[in-house]
């Protein structure tokens, strides 16, 4: 009886998981393999045009391109690191602020939900209006405190910092919710013990709460970093193709999109995408390994 039950279970579990695994396999593995193949060819123009095998030329072209590739790598890093660090710090502060219950907590949670569920293209459009150099309310408010009007998304220098701030506005709530979820699972005793021992609020946070939140923080960092590295909608909606006329907001994802769909340089684009995918997976692995080392 026990054996047949075991066998039945085994057959069932593979039947249940098969459709999802086959779906992801067909949608991911074949396309990725195809992209990897394209990156070794001179694919260009129409999707069904003849292609020639080139070897690693596309990779050397991409890696030797200091005009658009490397600046895009730099912007991707600046955008991701700045946005995620700000979101972590602000999200943590906000989570501590909201940790103990208060009246109106329900409404606060709802307000936090809206930015992260809102359509990124719509968010981009709304901020374009708010930050518009001539009709936007942002400059009117800055004017009240005596700060001269800023060009924001209209200038080369301020585009990336402005986009980082919009990302921070949209995704800090996500950090806060993740960290709040982590905080509710913590036992109360260690903090009470620290309080009895005379630790200050900051010491309790830094030496007791923060270390206990380790796993949650790492998971939140991985989730947000992966999404921030891939940010496309916001940048493309507000700055258009190429991240603006001087490529001032062009990250790797926007660059890859541009050479793929605006210039049809499939071979080169595929090489960039392979490098990008390797980079993302590398970052996830590094973050995971570091957290395991810290945890053991």
């Amino acid at each position: 009886m026990a054996r047949t039950l075991e066998q039945e279970n085994r057959r069932l579990k593979w039947t249940m998981i098969a459709p999802a695994v086959v779906f992801i396999g067909l949608m991911v593995v074949f396309p990725l393999a195809y992209t990897a193949w394209l990156s070794l060819t001179d694919a260009f123009g129409a999707v069904n045009a003849d292609t020639r095998f080139l070897g690693l030329t596309n990779y050397t072209d991409a890696l030797g391109d200091t005009r658009r590739f490397w600046p895009a790598v730099g912007r991707t890093f600046v955008f991701t690191v700045a946005a995620v660090v700000l979101e972590l710090v602000l999200g943590m502060a906000l989570a501590m602020l909201l940790r103990r219950p208060f009246r109106g907590m329900r409404w606060m949670r709802t307000i936090l939900m809206v930015p992260l569920l809102a359509t990124p293209v719509a968010v981009g459009v709304v901020w374009m209006l708010i930050l518009d150099p001539t009709v936007g309310i942002a400059n009117a408010i800055l004017g009240l405190v005596g700060i001269p009007p800023q060009p924001f998304l209209g200038s080369v220098a301020q585009s990336l910092p402005t986009l980082i701030l919009i990302d921070v506005w949209q995704w800090t709530p996500m950090m806060t919710l993740l960290l709040l979820a982590g905080l509710t699972t913590l036992p109360e005793e260690p903090e009470e013990a620290a309080l009895v021992d005379g630790a200050s609020a900051w010491q309790r946070f830094r030496l007791v709460t923060l270390p206990m939140l380790g796993t949650t923080i790492v998971t939140a960092l991985v989730l947000r970093s992966v999404d921030a590295l891939k940010t496309f909608d916001l940048i493309y909606a507000t700055k258009g193709a190429g991240g603006g006329s001087s490529y001032e907001a062009e990250t790797l994802n926007v660059y890859a999109y541009g050479i793929t769909f605006d210039y049809s340089e499939y071979g080169l684009a595929a090489a960039v995408l392979v490098l990008f995918t390797v980079l993302i997976i590398g970052i996830v692995v590094v973050l995971r390994l570091r957290s395991e080392k810290a945890g053991s």
Partner: protein
Amino acid sequence: MTATLSRPTGAAAPSRGPDPRKRRLERLRLTAVVLVSLVFALPLVWMVLAAFKTNVQISNTADAVVFTPTLDNFRTVFDEGVFLPAMVNSIIVAVVSTALSALIAVPAAWAIGRFGMRRAGSWVLIARIIPAISLLVPWYYVFARLELVGGYTVLVLSHMFVSVPLITWIMIGFFEGLPVELEEAGRVDGLSAFGAFLRISLPLATAGTATACVLATVFSWNNFIFALILSDENTKTLPVALFNFISYASIDWGGLMAASTLMSVPVVLAAVFGQRYLIAGLTAGATKG
């Protein structure tokens, strides 16, 4: 502080607390909470206000809060003849892709959660990491050969690529939380293993399934990049319609804000009514590492 730590409910009524310093701190905290909620709410309030303004009122700070509202922007949005079909497309794609995703992702999540198939699980979840653009060219290539580009099928399939991992990710946690004994009791009563899943675990996971489906619908509703490439004039979804509105017209802020407001209505409704469940869904798995 000691009292509030051990009795969390005590924090809700600090006004009769003995220590005036604590009361000041609590008042400071509530002020900070109000300020923070303003930072997150005001941009969207501004969007809604602008949707009811003329373009002259939008650019005039004197009309910032007090103004005579107009419905002209909404009329423009619907008269353009693009918005309504795009909304229908968005609804079709969101509903169909979510339903099909749930159909394959919920059983998969059950198998992973119930039998600890972590390796198969990470296989499904790897789809969360890969940049979508690296898949778009091959998809485009294959679906163009099958003459599916521009149709609903390819949009539904591409959105499922996001929804299947999302629903799986959320549901694994729900199924892991169910005691195995419940299914075992069902087996003793003569149910097959599949019957135990269908009659016992699935009904118990209704709240989780609903949460996962609402989130999948929202993310499909918001999705921009797949429809940008894979849809055509007749199947384009709302975010693409909104994007086209920016790029080709001389900027009609009122119209843009009206369209953005209409797009945000379902999202805000979800946030207001499903708040607790959605937060549980969004943060699923984060505390387990």
